[in-house]
Symmetry: C2
Subunit: 446 residues, 2 copies
């Protein structure tokens, strides 16, 4: 599949029309999330790095033109004007890891109209779900209160590519490792893994399984203890670990049932066997609610493994994101659709203390004591800086989280801060609204 | 990213241990969904075709071995035994499009244990989310009651690859088209698309936008009428279509607000202008609940476009699926984990009338009046039949849906039929449970 054809067909029909009308002036589109989902007190900006990679190599080639023509049912010659089109515009964006709120642009693209339109689907498809997953993972980090988390999401993510991204996003917000080999390799994340129930079942007994695992993997091992009877599994694991002289770096994993109770009993058994350094890893459908409950209950769990629910951004698997034209050829524009009006003009977000943000115009002076969030990351289709690192994104995330008010941090019923429009943005919105309404009314005349 | 490294690390550590212990006997794993999500009265089996493609080309090559070694932090030589491993086992599976219920195997894999284990993550990652998305899309088809649906999910799906699959799965359950160019091209689905609000805003007026679109696209067009004021947009669209002599095959699209009310007023305006053949397309966050409500209200909507909520399988973005060892070296096995016990032995599903299914053993005779669901689709790592077609899968879906009881079909609070275990499966489960419990108790002795 060509990356360029991973697009909604209407981007193609619109671009063809723009070219026909010679509408190649600069257009600015703003990509933002209209409203935060009910269970989110903030969002974590994510997906920008993969999106910039995509834009940098964007090129409509011969095979793309043929695909467009075939799907449109039109002769190739009629689609030929799109051939050779690249992205050579400017991108201003919130770097990955920063927190963003409702209505705040994650990305603003300024480019000749056909280009800026043609990259819409690609940008939405990369940024929306990655921001959704990073935001879910971030809540797990908050819930864990400093205990390490690892990512087990690959098998339930929406395909291998989504799993790869989920592992990266978990690392971005501070997870300590991932089970995903491809992600560990590509992004330099620590690989982590234990054994499955099938492994234990394939041996005549749990004890034989544990011993065989240790034979194959010299050094620390983590043993899955709940295949049959968890308390017995813990006792068996403790005996095997002790007899093999293992301890530090080793762990046992609990994957079902009453995790808090089992962990408490397991801790006592391990400590009783002198295995005070053996860690307890918990998994099995964990999300921020389950992690928070286990922490609240004082469960002696050392590592939380989250999977399914983080990988699919359970609770908010999509965001109400939009990619909206805000200026064309120097003219600010907006839509007025019922309940979905947009604000005109290129924008900037000014971050105030406690995430009291102001959304203003791109060319405004920052209000006193605020910091602009959007940076120019691409000019004439080229990155202006070397690719970002996960460590840098994580540092930004941690710095922003430290500013987050308590009601936005909390797991249950969070309340997100609401950015306010600047005086200049509010004034421009009023002016453009009146202009558009007047024009629409006029065109209604018979 | 190598396909083989898109795996959980523990598959690798387990496979290495199996090879070390010379445990290469045949293992059967069963992939099934434990329980249906609350809002699902059935699931649609999906993802098999891509999964078989993946298995057929499965090969652990040199670069995979190097990646495994790096992530494990071990010398390449220690991982070398995995090199050259392919999948040459047998696969029995429910063909795509058939309905499946809780506990019914979607796929059973029988292969030498290391192979059967190594393909776990790949199978789960392809089958789980595709079955989730197909099941969501199927509910939209039921809700639409025969009116056509089109897929607009690409921009909110979990990445371009997930969007490609979503378009395919929508077509599989009967959608009439997709906005996704890559999917239209690859799977031969009708491409569909209109225009965005940005297109309308880029022109000085709505009317100029509509006329420009028609100039660029001779033949039927669909005009988006809700950028500013929907009623005025409809009037403008009607005027433009009439003046250009367009009608049959054309449409208007409503994307926000009170869709039923707007559609009713739009229909009156269009009909009043003699444009009785111009269709009304509705979009904007639609799912099976919204579609069912619009149908119930008698809204004169001709085509429903669903996107976000279908693409992410909203409401059930993941399924509680498992890939469990059920037999190793001729010995049926099971796990007993609290609340997550599995049933032993290779299985077959016997479909009875009204989806009164019996889950039995693979070597049982089908009960009177039932049909076995799992077919052998791969032997010695090779497909036994040519690749399946979307049309065949759709025909299976339609035939099974016709058998579905009313309480499972309904959109609100559906009740899924519950399969029952056969007498032989129940007996085997009891025997194996006792054997495992006895053994676990014995190993607990000091």
């Amino acid at each position: 599949m060509s990356e360029v054809t991973a697009t909604d067909l209407y981007e193609v029909t619109m671009a063809l029309s723009y070219l026909r009308e010679d509408m190649r002036a600069a257009a600015t589109f703003s990509l933002f999330v209209r409203e935060l989902p009910p269970e989110r007190g903030f969002l974590v900006a994510a997906g920008l790095e993969p999106a910039l990679d995509r834009l940098a190599r964007f090129l409509v080639d011969r095979s793309d033109v043929e695909a467009f023509a075939r799907v449109l049912g039109r002769p190739v010659a009629e689609v030929e004007p799109l051939r050779g089109l690249t992205f050579d515009g400017e991108v201003r964006a919130v770097p990955e890891g920063r927190l963003v709120l409702a209505g705040e642009p994650l990305v603003e693209v300024t480019a000749p109209l056909p280009q800026a339109q043609l990259v819409e689907t690609c940008l939405l498809s990369l940024l929306c779900h990655q921001t959704a997953v990073a935001s879910k993972a971030a809540r797990c980090v908050l819930a864990a209160g400093g205990r390490p988390l690892v990512d087990f999401s690959l098998r339930r993510a929406h395909g291998p590519e989504a799993g790869l991204q989920a592992a990266r996003l978990c690392a971005l917000v501070g997870f300590a490792g991932t089970s995903n080999v491809a992600a560990a390799q590509r992004y330099g994340i620590a690989g982590t893994g234990t054994m499955a129930h099938s492994y234990v079942e394939a041996f005549p007994s749990e004890e034989q399984a544990f011993r065989a695992f240790a034979r194959a993997h010299p050094g620390p091992v983590t043993l899955l203890v709940d295949t049959y009877d968890t308390d017995r599994g813990v006792a068996t694991a403790a005996r095997v670990l002790r007899e093999l002289g293992l301890g530090p770096g080793c762990g046992i994993r609990l994957d079902s049932g009453d995790l808090a109770g089992q962990a408490r009993r397991a801790r006592a058994v391990l400590d009783g066997a002198g295995l005070t350094e053996v860690q307890i890893v918990a998994s099995g459908g964990l999300d921020e609610y389950a992690v928070a409950a286990l922490v609240r209950q004082g469960a002696p769990i050392d590592v939380f493994a989250t999977g399914t629910k983080v990988g699919v951004a359970d609770g908010a698997p999509s965001l109400d994101a939009a990619y909206k034209l805000v200026e064309y050829d120097g003219r600010p524009v907006m839509k007025l659709s019922a309940g979905r009006a947009t604000a005109p003009g290129p924008k900037q977000v000014f971050r105030g203390p406690g995430l009291r943000d102001v959304i203003g115009l791109a060319n405004e002076e920052p209000p006193e004591g605020t910091e602009p969030l959007l940076r120019t990351v691409m000019r004439r289709g080229l990155r202006v800086e070397p690719p970002d690192t996960l460590a840098a994104a994580r540092a930004r995330f941690e710095a922003d989280v430290a500013l987050l008010p308590e009601e936005a941090r909390r797991i249950e019923a969070p309340v997100a801060p609401r950015p306010t429009p600047s005086t200049r943005l509010a004034a421009l919105t009023t002016v453009v609204r009146h202009r558009v309404e007047a024009r629409t009314a006029a065109s209604d005349a018979p």
